[in-house]
């Protein structure tokens, strides 16, 4: 539905003052002057770039060589602001990382906002500023977008959808079905920070921690990894929702291989371990927003690991396991005390336990 369609649903689309009380009003999604002002004062001001400025129905981009990667992601997070980021930075990082995991250099993003009537304009500006900063850091432009406003109570403040295109250079073939027995599984640092940071500020569950979300754009790191590993980098995956357990399971199934993880090798911050122990969570299932799993041919793994460690987002990179031919489709963990267990996909959501 376009903004104009939304406006038709209103009995009387009376023009409203653009900045009434500093909150988002239904009129901001009406497609008229208020929408225009919102775009100009909030979005254009932050995202300013040559592809966006004409404010045409779509952005036009030059076509480059290589193959195109295209990805989209919807962002709903509670609370909207959390230690280490907010829904805006997350929305940029998420799509940039999805492109990077295809081995692509991100080129341009779109951003679509569903705003709830009554949402504070100041909060929207904070979110948009975070998006601008995240995009600049990742070296990508937000070139097109859309805004809708829904009735109060019909949204959760703000939902953001970002889509992105990127270019995959010649010679790069990253795909989830390319893991091979012998591949080493690498990760660029401690896992589960994002999920636990979010939980620590969720209403009703607050606990004190200095932990921050790991939310970050990984395209720079991936570029360094590909420069070091080339075609020997077989699979890249960001273990977001469902964590490392779900990501490795998906790859084991796609590549028809077994994956063995070593519990003692998994990088985990002490405070994350502690929080998981108290809450009854398994960090393998907790979300990350700035982590990358790489499946690299054994003979190149050391070089890729070195390249990761030379990058600020990979200084704590380690090998956490390897790919085997046995048990295709299964992920197995060698436990700390020498036993073995299955690492399964998560069924629904992890729920805090009784005792």
């Amino acid at each position: 539905m376009s903004g104009a369609d939304l406006a038709k649903g209103l009995a009387c689309p009376v023009p409203l003052p653009a900045d009434a009380g500093g909150t988002v009003l239904l009129g901001h999604g009406g497609g008229g002057r208020m929408t225009q002002q919102l775009i100009e004062r909030v979005f254009l001001q932050a995202f300013k770039n040559p592809a966006l400025e004409p404010l045409h129905d779509g952005a036009t981009l030059p076509v480059l060589g290589g193959r195109l990667a295209f990805s989209t992601d919807a962002f709903v997070v509670r609370p909207l602001f959390f230690p280490g980021g907010n829904i805006g930075s997350l929305a940029v990082h998420g799509t940039v990382n999805d492109l990077a995991m295809c081995g692509a250099r991100p080129l341009a993003l779109s951003a679509s906002f569903i705003l709830e009537e009554g949402f504070p304009m100041a909060d929207l500006k904070r979110i948009v500023t975070a998006m601008k900063e995240a995009a600049e850091e990742a070296g990508v432009s937000i070139v097109t977008g859309d805004t809708k406003v829904v009735d109060r109570g019909k949204g959760d403040g703000v939902f953001i959808t970002t889509s992105g295109v990127g270019v995959i250079p010649e010679g790069v073939t990253i795909a989830p079905d390319r893991a091979r027995p012998g591949d080493v599984v690498l990760v660029n640092g401690p896992i589960a920070d994002h999920g636990i940071a979010i939980l620590s500020v969720r209403e009703g569950l607050e606990f004190d921690t200095t932990l921050e979300s790991d939310s970050a754009a990984l395209n720079g790191l991936v570029e360094a990894m590909l420069a070091a590993g080339g075609a020997d980098v077989h699979v890249l995956r960001d273990p977001t929702r469902g964590g490392v357990a779900s990501a490795t399971n998906e790859i084991a199934v796609s590549s028809k291989v077994g994956i063995v993880l070593r519990e003692t090798a998994l990088p985990l911050r002490e405070q994350v371990r502690g929080a998981c122990a108290i809450l009854g969570f398994d960090p393998l299932y907790v979300a990350n927003e700035g982590k990358c799993l790489a499946f690299v041919a054994k003979e190149r793994a050391a070089e890729v690991l070195q390249a990761m460690r030379a990058h600020p987002l990979g200084k704590d990179a380690v090998a956490i396991g390897e790919v085997v031919a046995a048990n295709p489709g299964r992920v197995v963990m060698e436990s700390r005390i020498g036993g073995r267990r299955i690492v399964d996909m998560l069924s629904g959501e992890q729920l805090p336990r009784i005792c």
Partner: protein, 365 residues
């Protein structure tokens, strides 16, 4: 992490496995009481590291699993009411009642919220005087003191909009019920360390004497369990019975006196239905009459709600150690974490969930 890492030491674990192997001369069947212990055993692969002679059967100590189905249905009925904020620990939300679970009630508009502490539910009652806040008080002796403190606090503050749906269960009567059954297979118990942290272990000594059985109060980390198994096997091999305390860093003979005091103030012993197992006399706690106005069963008049189990679910046999999860014909086929027939498949402490999550390849015939 202190108090965790030293109890997950691989070299020490191997030494205990060897020591158990040297001690054992014939088959023994041990039962760990608590579902938390079951999960450690399966998650770390301890059951598969032990000598063949030792069989571990998994006990009834999963509070989510033994909560009777009619209590779940009562909870669902209360949670669906528009004036109610229904609060619960997270792992009750997926437990199937006869038709539904709390997550589905929430999806249809019920105000169901996860809390970490019953005191958070009391706080909700303070903040929402126009709403009825109900807390689902489930669990063994371990969780009971905090629940007792919550209802005591609510009464003291006159928070008439706070009530609890109580389904507390007690370990010693359940152990007696298992031991007195003609089908009993258990030769030694690993008692639940956290239950004993609250209650102490005086109550276990008459049971050990009457049934001539070793009972080892045991913790929850891998080395705790291996040490507990070693102590139990040693006692069995030497023909000794009685209570021993492996979990001395947490458990004292008399328990936690402050906790026991508030329990005694708020709760009284009652008969209790155990899901899949049946009624066990004197095996539960209910609110004392002085706290009746905070009793959700009375407030919402749901005491009459009755419900039937899935006829296919063998949770009762599993909770008594008479069957293992993979011996159930529905295990991993008609009963999975996504489509559970019974609570042990969805609870974080359920034996079926542990087998399905960590070891379903190894245990499949």
């Amino acid at each position: 992490m202190k108090y965790v890492d030293e109890y997950r030491n691989e070299a020490l674990a191997r030494r205990y496995v060897e020591a158990i192997g040297q001690k054992v001369t014939r088959p023994w069947t041990l039962m760990e009481i608590c579902g938390g212990q079951t999960h450690t055993l399966i998650k770390f692969g301890i059951d598969r590291m032990l000598p063949q002679e030792i069989t571990l059967v998994h006990g009834p100590g999963c509070p989510v699993c033994v909560t009777p189905i009619e209590k779940i249905d009562q909870a669902l009925a209360i949670a669906a009411r528009p004036e109610v904020i229904f609060t619960s620990f997270g792992d009750m939300l997926r437990v199937p009642g006869s038709q539904d679970d709390l997550l589905r009630v929430k999806a249809r508009g019920g105000d169901v919220r996860i809390v970490y502490s019953p005191l958070d539910a009391v706080e909700l009652a303070r903040k929402n005087p126009e709403r009825e806040v109900v807390f689902f008080a489930v669990g063994f002796e371990t969780t009971a003191p905090a629940n007792a403190a919550a209802v005591w606090q609510a009464k003291r503050e006159g928070l008439k909009n706070f009530s609890m749906l109580v389904s507390h269960v007690l370990v010693p009567p359940a152990m007696e019920a298992l031991l007195s059954s003609p089908e009993n297979v258990v030769q030694a118990f690993l008692a639940a360390g956290h239950v004993c942290t609250v209650m102490g272990f005086d109550d276990y000594e008459p049971i050990a004497a009457r049934y001539k059985i070793p009972i080892v109060v045991t913790g929850f980390e891998p080395i705790d369990l291996l040490q507990g198994i070693h102590m139990a096997v040693t006692a069995l091999e030497e023909g000794r019975h009685g209570v021993e305390n492996q979990y001395a860093r947490s458990v004292h003979r008399e328990g936690n006196l402050a906790a026991r005091k508030i329990l005694d103030e708020v709760f009284e012993v009652c008969d209790r239905q155990w899901r899949g197992v049946g009624p066990i006399p004197g095996s539960g706690w209910q609110l004392k009459p002085a706290y009746a106005e905070h009793d959700a069963t009375l407030k919402f008049e749901v005491g009459h709600v009755r419900a039937d189990e899935s006829p296919e679910c063998i949770a009762g046999l599993i909770l008594q150690g008479r069957k293992k999860p993979h011996q159930c014909p529905a295990f991993g086929t008609r009963c999975t974490p996504e489509t559970p027939l019974g609570a042990p498949m969805v609870s974080t402490e359920g034996a079926c969930a542990a087998y399905h999550q960590y070891a379903r390849d190894e245990v499949r015939p």
